[in-house]
């Protein structure tokens, strides 16, 4: 009941994802992957998690996704406690994890198939989503016929097909070249705004984290911690060019200070 009070104090009306005292240890408590995380993410906000390898970014994401259970504390999504994978939360990985025996459109339809029967409306929606990610002409291509960037777009369309409004992205474009990554980031912002999703985005790159987010959680390792939350007041839509502005660089320095001091 105590944590319930904390969540309500954090404004239950708009908080879509809320964690109170969330901790996760591995190896019988010897590895503290995440220690005492406190956070609330309001509806429609974009949060970036940034920090060095091993600071618990993926762990936090997988906790929110319900793929693993916390060893302490409580996690709520839309006001209900996370007790396993759920319909309103969807996750995307660094690898596209497409099924190579399915065409792009069949990959996008996978979530619908797992949830139940595929109707004509679902097929239409899947096709619209492929157009949304710019792959309308490649609906019937197999993954092996697509480039790495195109495969990630299919994975993004598949994620949107779930209809989830909480979107978790674990270094989704991390394996791609810088040009493709920047372009996809800009498209991601457009798409996320269009579907009105609440987003958590993991990256190693401070500039990328700031460019995308409303709030940046700067995390530090051993034990994994949310060391600081940096508010990003930059206006939207954002151009790639803002990355050279003084305000932007000030935010980068702020994040660097936290990570450097550790």
């Amino acid at each position: 009941m105590e944590q319930q009070a904390i969540i309500e104090a954090n404004d239950p009306g708009t908080a879509v994802v809320a964690g109170s005292n969330v901790g996760k240890t591995f190896a019988n408590g010897t590895v503290v992957a995440l220690d005492n995380a406190e956070f609330t993410i309001p509806k429609g906000k974009f949060v970036s998690l940034v920090g060095p390898s091993g600071c618990g970014k993926s762990t936090l994401l997988r906790l929110i996704a319900g793929l693993i259970a916390p060893t302490s504390g409580h996690l709520h999504v839309h006001g209900t406690q996370v007790a396993g994978p759920r319909q309103d939360v969807a996750m995307m990985f660094q690898r596209a994890t497409l099924l190579e025996w399915r065409t792009a459109i069949e990959n996008v339809l996978l979530p619908t198939e797992i949830a139940g029967n595929v109707e004509d409306a679902d097929r239409e929606r899947a096709m619209e989503l492929l157009h949304l990610v710019g792959l309308g002409d490649f609906a019937f291509s197999f993954p092996a016929q697509l480039s790495g960037g195109m495969q990630q777009r299919v994975a993004l369309a598949r994620l949107l097909q779930t209809g989830a409004d909480v979107i978790l992205l674990d270094e989704p474009f991390g394996a791609l070249d810088e040009f493709t990554r920047e372009r996809l980031n800009v498209e991601l912002l457009r798409i996320v705004a269009e579907v009105g999703a609440t987003t958590v985005f993991v990256t190693h790159n401070i500039a990328e984290a700031i460019f995308l987010a409303d709030e940046v959680y700067v995390m530090t390792p051993r034990p994994g911690r949310i060391a600081k939350v940096i508010d990003v007041p930059l206006e939207r839509p954002r151009e790639l060019a803002i990355q050279t502005s003084p305000e932007f660089n000030h935010l980068v320095d702020e994040a660097r200070d936290v990570l450097g001091a550790h």
Binding site: L67, F93, R95, T97, I105, A115, S141, F142, T162
Partner: protein
Amino acid sequence: MMDPPKSNRPNALWLMSRFAPHLALFGVLIIIWELLVRTGVITTIMIPKPSSIGASIIDLYFVSGTIWPHFFITLTEAVLGFCIGAAIAIALAVGSSLSDPFRRYVMPYAIVMNVTPGIALTPVIIAWFGFGMGSKIALAAVISFFPIFVNTLTGLMQVDNEREELFTSLGANRFQIFTRLRVPAALPLLFAGLKIGLTTALIGAVVAEFAQATAGVGVLMNRFSFQLNMGASLATLLSMTLIGLILFYSMEFLDDRLVFWRREERREAVSRKRARAWKRRAETSGRTR
């Protein structure tokens, strides 16, 4: 060597230039062999002249047709034995991949079966199943079992953690993960096992025929060898090669159809087919609405 022409189907001219050297070499070898036998360097008792093998082929396959009933008996034995062996192997592999205790119980028997030379079971199997086709089918099944079992199990046990996590995050149950992820991912290895198993099944059938049988190409070959009719004996051997080729390429064909995503041309063909099917469905559902 010439490059294949750009069009998908090689033309006759290209094929000829590609295979002419091989045919020429084969012809030369046959002629040397024929000459060695005719000049008495090799005795005819041991090794027949190519021309007498040729004469036997013409007689056995085209004039008297003696070979065909035996051919189909051996083919049937190998195929039935393979089907039984494959069915048991796949069932046990599926069970073993789904349940750890089940696998721990099955594995020792499977390994013992593998390290025991299956061919050595021939006398026992003939004692159990008789001189007819039953014993040939049984031996074929026994020795084709293990390669299929091991390959299928290895395929089904491959785990891609990220993909499994994707399925879990989508709320998939164990059955859905099995049918939509594990089975398709295992198909390439399953077919590798089936191809080995099918060839092994033919060995089983023929060995059992050599041991004790009333019909089949093994019986026929035994008979010709005892008569020291080496030409006919080798002409019969050719039929086993023929059965082997038929079996191998039918499996190769199935592999190509079912595991279509590994070869570029097949991928493109299937991709076009799915696009057409999608369009057709969109049209019909549009009309009914």
